[in-house]
Symmetry: C2
Subunit: 429 residues, 2 copies
């Protein structure tokens, strides 16, 4: 059987695992695809560099442009990341009728539509399971298994670095800075951790998930994004005291009237009894709520060379089968064109701790302010005395705009000395 030729862009942590597995699982892959998968070339930045895997030097090239358009190449695997040159290379390959497998969440979340369009015009496939939640089969289930259902919410932990940091803060009481340093030492966080800790990585994944779940076009800049850099050991401890744990969540949800969707990434308190609360270290887990299926959960390793390569190879097999059959996988599905609403319209619950003056009538004035903004209080607890007096309030569901206005109002109340902490609450009620 004539082999399918694979061009690989990038030979780093993921790329080197892809090469290893293409070699080690050669016979299995050939049997599953129906033809051998053969490496046609590997585009790298520098030729001389030491690599994690043995590569035939004759396959290495710094000329990625020529590689992706070579006539004998059937499939291009892109694992270099970032917007350029990835976008130009993928587009060139798709325009020439190649199929593309990519792990590039940033590019998909910024400009997925134009990639889909190039795939359609060239009649190739665009697969990207590895772009979200690493080895966890999540995009194919959303795109295909749940294609007959109505998804209402996707809620999950999709960034391993921040989950590792928050888990350490929760289990050891460490500060954000110390936990980040430990994550960097262990290789869970990069030297420049911005993309992870500021939520950019999770926001790109949220955009991809929302697009697939709601059959609408969603880009990263439509995702409300807050990172975890301002979470203090005190926030973590006070969540713990209340039976909650803080996680960085990606949440894509249909509005109550079903006509729009909210897509957001921010830290939130969830009850310790919630299954996501038990997701430790750098693991990922995603809840999907669909009308007929009910609640589904997917759990596993969200990053790392081998897990990500597993997802890439799964896509390679699918794309290879499609090429042999002269078929194509699912295309972009954006027929629903739901509006992405701004954060103010998103409905959430909120936990707020207020340092207050310890005198009669404080609770009444605070409660009045919440009522004025139509925010209903679920529980309120008074802690400490005198200068240490604190009111801890958890609200019922309210629009983020109303909650923000309430916080503004609290800041102006003379009896409120400071807002010690504010955090959204998810996963119950």
């Amino acid at each position: 059987m004539k082999p399918l030729k694979v061009a690989l862009l990038g030979c780093g942590v993921v790329g080197s695992q892809v090469i290893r597995l293409l070699h080690e699982q050669r016979d299995d892959l050939a049997a599953r695809v129906g033809a051998p998968l053969e490496l046609a070339g590997v585009a790298v930045r520098r030729l001389g560099r030491k690599r994690d895997v043995e590569v035939d030097p004759g396959l290495l090239t710094t000329d990625a442009e020529s590689l992706v358009t070579r006539d004998d190449v059937d499939i291009v695997v892109e694992v270099i990341g970032g917007i350029e040159p990835a976008r130009s290379l993928i587009t060139a390959a798709l325009n020439r009728g190649k199929s593309v497998v990519t792990a590039n969440k940033a590019l998909l979340a910024e400009d997925g539509a134009s990639l889909y369009e190039a795939a359609r015009s060239g009649s190739g496939d665009l697969y990207f399971e590895a772009s979200v939640a690493g080895a966890i089969p999540l995009l194919r289930p959303l795109r295909e298994s749940l294609a007959g259902d109505r998804v209402n919410r996707v809620l999950g932990i999709v960034n391993g670095t921040t989950n590792y940091i928050l888990d350490k803060m929760d289990s050891t009481g460490a500060s954000f800075t110390d936990a980040l340093e430990e994550a960097q030492t262990l290789g869970y966080a990069e030297a420049d951790p911005t993309a992870d800790v500021e939520g950019f990585d999770a926001a790109a994944k949220a955009a991809i998930l929302a697009g697939l779940a709601f059959h609408s076009r969603v880009t990263a800049d439509q995702v409300h994004r807050e990172g975890i850099t301002e979470i203090t050991a005190t926030d973590v401890a006070s969540a713990k005291a209340m039976g909650y744990v803080i996680k960085l969540l990606a949440i894509c949800a249909r509005s109550d009237d079903g006509r729009s969707i909210g897509v957001r990434v921010h830290p939130a308190m969830i009850p310790r009894s919630h299954p996501l609360a038990g997701v430790r270290e750098a693991y990922n887990a995603v809840f999907v709520e669909a009308e007929s299926a009910g609640q589904l959960m997917f759990y596993g390793k969200g990053a790392g060379g081998a897990p990500t390569a597993s997802a890439v190879l799964g896509d390679l097999v699918a794309v290879g089968r499609n090429r042999l059959a002269g078929a194509r996988g699912p295309e972009e599905s954006t027929y629903a064109s739901l509006r992405v609403h701004p954060m103010g319209e998103t409905v959430t619950r909120c936990h707020v701790a207020l340092d207050v003056a310890d005198k009669p009538g404080v609770l009444a004035r605070v409660a009045e302010l919440f009522a004025k903004h139509d925010v209903s209080i679920q529980t309120v607890r008074q802690e400490g005395h005198g200068d240490d007096a604190q009111l801890v309030i958890v609200t019922h569901r309210a629009s983020d705009a109303a909650l923000s206005a309430t916080m503004e109002g609290l800041r102006e109340l003379d009896i409120v000395r400071a807002i010690a902490s504010v955090m959204r609450v998810e996963g119950d009620e």
Copy 2:
């Protein structure tokens, strides 16, 4: 766009939900498939019966044979269950080039190969996501997402009825009989609960999972099967005392040398810290361990009309897209042809509680017997005194044959009054 015509076999719990959703999600389904899905007919046993859903009486027929071979029918959905007439009807449909979506685990586990063959000869699709774990996307991830990986183990709770019963026994201390009765009252167990409580249902699912995971042909009669009818409140309590919980598990595992697979369904003790231990009531959850992906978990509702219908509709969309594209989904993949080894070759750990005479040298003689059969002991605990003396032993991994021989030997030891309980241990070490 010309509609795709769907013939539905069966209008019970699942069938009526399929009809409802085809109607309610009509526009979404049409957009996702690329053409409307239109009900061509519904085969039922009796015409006059009251149903859970409104059906155009003109669509109802008792003549399933004619319906499945009608020229205008594109896709047949089979939700009647059982071997016949399901097998003949599905085969007739596939031979005529129709695609088939089925939830029939018993038939697939008995004779999947001949159905695949009929699908191949007729060039139609055979999809069956709903046959295992209801709404949980599990078969598509195994068949497609993990197609580039090497699966080593699938371990899960795939029968909601028995999980409900064991969960009740664990949380309330109820006997098996009382918990079963409660499950029947609530509709979680059928009047004749044999298929569930004796493990037949889980065994069929295990055969399907093993076939997909290991690219080999596995039938239900090759699955080692033990039910839960002999589990006592005492077993449950003593597991609890040790920090374990008893679950009915389906386990498909590659042997240590990789050359054969073991497929089994039996109750087992798992540590309370294991994620499967937290699966309550009638929920299902499945762990998949793959070489590169690591541990993955899938969790959700494993049964019920709407969840099962969600899986059926997901398959309907996939099959519909394939027909419009003139393509076919994945075929049977049995190239690995791994041998299914007998239970004796399976390696497990074991928990055994022995009523023993309380005199010096008892432990030495018991330990000697284990050593004679090459079974290594991990922990041993002596409980009670005099007539109540009990030895509780947990072994390291050993072949089931060696463990059985050890139990035989223990029965013959004069110092052992009785084997109070024996159960396999999974999920740690």
